[in-house]
């Protein structure tokens, strides 16, 4: 069930990307989708009554949660901030050329 909640967030992001007409809103939609995927991946690795996968002095073996999705999420977070920085740079440059964030006015290419 909680998996589906994360998918709902994903769908909200998708809806935003498809329907909104503002460049920054589209960017935010992508960010929301990335949040949803990260949430989903960490949910996959959770174990009932688990503890964080860090060995401390004394307790060498414990009920650790799955470390692999966490490593994946760390990578995914970095990728998302990288994409965000680049896409915002692009938005700023487009604003300089077109003086608007409106997608319907940014249409010099045909088709």
């Amino acid at each position: 069930m909680v998996f589906f909640l994360s998918f709902v967030i994903f769908l909200i992001g998708l809806y935003c990307v498809i329907t909104k007409k503002n460049l920054l809103k589209i960017v935010m939609g992508i960010v929301i989708m990335e949040y949803a995927v990260n949430f989903f991946l960490v949910l996959l690795g959770y174990r009932k009554a688990g503890v964080a996968p860090i060995v401390v002095e004394g307790a060498r073996k414990a009920n650790f949660v799955d470390p692999l999705p966490q490593a994946m999420v760390l990578t995914a977070i970095v990728i998302s901030i990288a994409t965000l920085a680049f896409i915002v740079a692009m938005c700023i440059r487009i604003y300089e050329k077109y003086h608007t964030f409106d997608v319907t006015e940014i249409r010099r290419l045909k088709g």
Binding site: I54, V55, E57, L74, A85, A89, I92, Y95, E96, H99
Partner: protein, 154 residues
């Protein structure tokens, strides 16, 4: 009114002085996080971002002038390339030392000490350098870009 739209001079004196005092501990914390990546939560990436954020704080407080004079973009991107090269060369040394790409060639050491886990601390340092340089570089690029013909910008 966003702080970024202030003129070249930056914010008020209070902010400047607080930023001056706060940023060194932030850098220190970031370095701590990079070095203890294999023992505690954190690691090269968040540590690097924290170091970068200290400098970003300085730029936000002191304005663009500071960015163009003291904290240069070219230094940041050089650091970034060097960090990336460190990480890549660690991988290549693995071929020379153990026969496999990314072979962990250093001794594992005693667990739970700072000098343990083979090349992981070195890799963390490389990533930390790369990330701090990179995030700072992209921030400087974004704020230094002025929209010359638009109504916003300047």
């Amino acid at each position: 009114m966003s702080p970024l739209k202030q003129k070249e001079k930056g914010m008020t004196n209070i902010v400047k002085i607080v930023a001056k005092f706060v940023s060194p501990p932030i850098v220190l914390f970031g370095i701590y996080m990079v070095l203890h990546g294999h023992l505690t939560p954190g690691g090269g990436f968040p540590g690097g971002v924290i170091v970068a954020s200290a400098f970003i704080l300085l730029i936000l407080a002191f304005g663009r002038e500071m960015a163009s004079q003291k904290l240069k973009l070219s230094t940041a991107s050089t650091l970034e390339s060097i960090g990336a090269l460190i990480f890549l060369s660690l991988a290549l040394i693995g071929i020379a030392a153990g026969g496999w790409f990314f072979f962990n060639f250093l001794p594992k050491g005693e667990p739970l000490r700072i000098l343990s886990a083979g090349f992981i601390p070195l890799a963390n340092i490389g990533i930390g350098l790369k990330v701090s340089g990179g995030i700072f570089a992209v921030f400087v690029t974004l704020i230094m870009f002025r929209i010359t013909t638009g109504k916003g910008g300047r």
